[in-house]
Symmetry: C2
Subunit: 362 residues, 2 copies
Amino acid sequence: MALEITADDMEAIALGGAFLGTGGGGDPYIGKLMARAAIGEGAVRVADLSEVPDDALCVPVCMMGAPTVMLEKLPSGEEALAALSALEAYLGRKADYLVCIEAGGLNSTIPFAVAAATGLPLVDADGMGRAFPELQMVSLTLHDIGASPMVLADDKGNSSVLNAVSNLWTERLARAQTIEMGGAALVALYPMVGAAAKRGLLKGTLGLVHEIGRTIAAERAANRHPGDALIARCGGHDLCTARVVDIDRRTTGGFARGRARLRGLDADQGREFVLSFQNEFLCLEDDAGRPMALTPDLICALDADGGLPVTTETLRYGLGLRLIGLPADPQWRSPAGLELAGPQYFGYDHAFSPIETLAKGV
Amino acid sequence: MALEITADDMEAIALGGAFLGTGGGGDPYIGKLMARAAIGEGAVRVADLSEVPDDALCVPVCMMGAPTVMLEKLPSGEEALAALSALEAYLGRKADYLVCIEAGGLNSTIPFAVAAATGLPLVDADGMGRAFPELQMVSLTLHDIGASPMVLADDKGNSSVLNAVSNLWTERLARAQTIEMGGAALVALYPMVGAAAKRGLLKGTLGLVHEIGRTIAAERAANRHPGDALIARCGGHDLCTARVVDIDRRTTGGFARGRARLRGLDADQGREFVLSFQNEFLCLEDDAGRPMALTPDLICALDADGGLPVTTETLRYGLGLRLIGLPADPQWRSPAGLELAGPQYFGYDHAFSPIETLAKGV
């Protein structure tokens, strides 16, 4: 079933993307403005994955870099089009469909801006079902679909085409380029035909993003915190409600890395938690160091008061959070998925355990 | 007048390149072996610049990175061909001539290996008349000839095509890529037609390299130190003869940077000198901090005993050096040339003064 997304729908897309983005993907507000301006009076068609012809060229476009940088260095919209055009020129072929590589603030909305500017449809799918910090962390890697050739474009007019021997090497080379480009770049990568998209992408993510966003907006309009409705809709787990009492954040290696110490509120009064992130929230521990939620499962943060999604770069002392855990797509919990994006890849000293199990233990 | 270079000539090319390379461009021994193996029983034609048709495609190929890394990470020869092929594929056109971008150890000889493997002629010219550490430091930049599109290829099979808005941006993006590729990469860059080559390249460099190399070999065979003959041939200045008594070297930012303290020998007994480098020798000062030779003029180092050229990465405690200064090509002494590669670009606190003037003052 195809969706038609208008400028007015972008609010919900931005909110839903920021929720599933587990703190990453950058400030959804900017992406929403870009997409609203680009869509104008028109609409972007979001096609069901099943309708994409097997030989159609599908191209994800997104922003790459540290969200802390994106806060200060707004994309003009031209870079994303430049990245797409350069990849098309390199391939000698025009894209037929655009793809959101992840559900995440900016990266759920920038593809809509590009879709509006080019008139191309989007595919109702993504490569993560959430956001992850590194570009090889997509379901496409689990299906041996290559990130290369990949184009990076910056705000100055520089661009490059990478051809790497693996998706991890694409990440390494692209990350170095992104840092040199000023900490953020617009990229087009993982060019794939429809048959590969059907095999490798996670279906229905944009529809889910839209629905989650509408739920958040509706609950807020009814003066209810959206947490309960989202837990019910997504099969989520209430992790904790707590206030940020300390935050250690660095932009290093092209990422926003750090950890926040949280002090419990309401029913969690007297407890403490540590929330660690690399662009995305990746690990939540209680005050005894026991894991409460671990990547690749989702740690989604809502403002404890207003209910809006909170991204890692806007974490600040005193902010109250309601943290909700969601089970990751089953592919992420496979041995290959855990090798790619499990807690040990990121250096956390915990073996993965599903959120359902961890939630019971608390 | 065209030259025919055989495997046996590569010794002289390597020696001459290492002398004009002012310490940079990497170990000429490796490049010589690569080129000898590639040339085999054949020969590489070195064409006079004047014979190159105006519409012929001329492509420089070279190694980029820190010579300290190149010492440990030898190129297989395949990377240089991969870089050339990728650039040809990107341009949709085959190269007609190859170019040495600089006179320098490896970078004077790798193009011969590629020429032998492809059957293409080389052009008797280069972009520096010496070696410099950064890729925008070529006479081509002074003639508004672009470094982009540029291809980098590594030993693992990774490659990228850069399109940057300036040659300085090409340097920045390529340097970051080179570091990520392990500190060294083979590159093809500054693709230019014959008309641009005639306008932008420095003529006759390979012939001069060959002649200098033969001079060094002949003097050594006659048990004479080649310094005097080279000074006579190149209009050089004897700077000092001295022993390395201290060396501070780091491989940072993709470069081999550092400085050596030298103690005078023979006629220079009792004097001290400081020799600073970034891949190449760039600044020589006496013990009062007065400059004796400054980039872009050439500071060429020979082993005080054997007379062989000495590269920065092989500098070591106790090594005796005979340092010879040569005037740079007049283009390098223009305001634009000094802005690109003068002492102040590298952070040395001296205004440029020609070696002829400095030599008189000592």
